[in-house]
Assembly symmetry: C2
Homo-oligomer: 330 residues x 2
């Protein structure tokens, strides 16, 4: 584990709805802060919010910027770690085009080193280093949210292949099945990603099927079927919600079994909005679906919930090491 | 690459029908020898045959046992590398029970260090170090034979997880599909392993379908549908053979796409009896089936035939390093 003896490190998890920051000292959370993600569409406002949450977290730890040794930021989208840049972060207002996030955050914090990485990868890193995965060296994190992301730890290191390893969401679970958000057929994400699940729900409703999902969504002032919406609908026994979640667990079980048979892992950690919100009953169902497909059933992987919950990303980001070229482009 | 400057290394590939040995010097093949696997059912006869092929290979290289620095042996079955033992090698007569192969070979060769490993893993190692994979650091070897085995090279090293990594044959390609030799449903090996393909062929024939497969098999004095039998039947346009091979390529394409999407590899090497015998047209068909399922289609993996062919295993075995406890158990 990375040990920071002098100074503190801040970790920031930038999502479509909120920005969560923690400050670590000796690998312990000594401060944290959370704000809603600015929806102005200006990248500068998001960067200011990041800097403010770092300041607030430091204050909670009775420290200031001078105590900051390094900053890590997790954000969805395509990461250019060398340049500290992110692009195609469709859910973060203003981050569709390329933004030099690392350099800009660094500039506002007196030149401190800033490392950025993908939100799912930092979430898995957080659980691996400080959460449910800390006693394992080979694990797969499966983050079930709007899409299904993943992160692979092999021999104690985050494995990124040529940059895109860990994408368990694009495992083929049913070759002639539903269409995935990436356009291909039968991938896991077509069954277990919230965006594709919502498309299915709306299609079923337009064909005359009934569900409390959309009513619960509207009552809570949401425009999307969130993980909480599913949890509430399932609690009332809504058949469509139960069917969608059952099929998500089925697809997750198959994809995880294939990954397990190929990689012989010690543990699978199921996180993300849907994973965290639906909790142990969801995990149990995934295990039930996975088991019949395991090649070595007498040595199944431990299938675990996250321990850090919605702090996984921020804690993992604080544990990033590295940096970007220090010279700011003009 | 392991460089042996002083002395030679021998590599032995022990299969159900033949034992292939090579001797390497400075990573070049300087001698080779092949015999039929003794079918007496006595492990000692197989061990004698191994030692004889090593002697014959050394003789070809104008050398003798004194030049031998190390020996590697690849063999199917369950490997206990530490003890140099193998068990459950069902295809090798006399090797169903545990055999202390490493120590016995070593004893007959004046105590030279002997390392053993799984036949598929050494085949993939051979191609990775000295064959089609030598310019890559992240690759998957898919060995299509009686079953479908595999070997995974990540960051330039053979990755074995908890001992069973690389088993691409047990990827789920069709959750409600055919039964695999391992008992589970819809695995790749159920479609692309020769043993399961033969069961299907015989079942179809017993239901009244016709094929030249069994006739070709009998004419050539075989009792099993070998890779050569399929190649000959396809050359005559036999519909059942073509259907079985088409479905094998379909299943391989899906399993390889899922592995690629998860691991972001540079190359896939397709070997084994069926892979080597059916050659480029088979590879082309696998690529055609794989492509529609790729998550990053503009950066597909190179899908390659083996370069060393049926020498992959022996060359890879010669490149094994390690050993077993030197004291022979009483």
């Amino acid at each position: 584990m990375t040990s920071v003896n002098s100074g503190m490190t801040a970790g920031v998890d930038v999502g479509g709805t909120k920005i969560q920051t923690v400050v670590l000292h000796d690998n312990k959370v000594v401060g944290s802060s959370r704000v809603l993600t600015p929806s102005t569409g200006k990248p500068g406002d998001v960067i200011n919010a990041i800097v403010q949450t770092i300041g607030a977290s430091l204050e909670q730890a009775s420290a200031d910027e001078s105590a900051l040794a390094a900053v890590g930021v997790g954000i969805p989208g395509e990461i250019d770690a060398g340049a500290g840049a992110v692009s195609l972060a469709a859910n973060v207002p203003g981050f569709m085009d390329r933004v030099l996030l690392g350099p800009f955050v660094s500039e506002q914090l007196g030149g401190v080193k800033v490392t950025i990485d993908n939100d799912v990868r930092v979430g898995v890193l957080g659980e691996f280093r400080a959460g449910a995965g800390r006693s394992y060296k080979n694990l797969l994190g499966v983050w079930v949210g709007t899409g299904v992301g993943g992160g692979l730890v092999l021999d104690g290191k985050l494995h990124d292949g040529q940059g895109a390893a860990g994408e368990i969401g694009h495992t083929v679970v049913n070759p002639r099945g539903l269409k995935c958000s990436c356009g291909r057929r039968g991938h896991l994400e077509a069954y277990a990603g919230r965006a594709q699940m919502e498309l299915r729900a709306r299609r079923l409703v337009s064909r005359g099927q009934t569900t409390s999902l959309l009513k619960i969504m509207k009552r809570r002032g949401r425009t999307r079927l969130t993980s909480g919406t599913y949890a509430r609908a399932i609690a009332t026994g809504d058949p469509m919600a139960m069917k969608l979640i059952r099929e998500a667990a089925w697809a997750l079980g198959i994809a995880i079994a294939s990954a397990q048979n190929l990689l012989d892992l010690e543990a699978i950690i199921v996180g993300g909005g849907l994973g965290d919100r639906l909790g142990q009953p969801f995990i149990d169902r995934i295990v039930k679906e996975m088991t019949p497909y395991l090649f070595v059933p007498d040595r199944p992987p431990a299938v675990l919930r996250t321990e850090l919950g919605d702090l996984s990303g921020a804690v993992g980001a604080a544990m990033l090491v590295g940096g970007y070229p220090s010279a700011l482009p003009v």
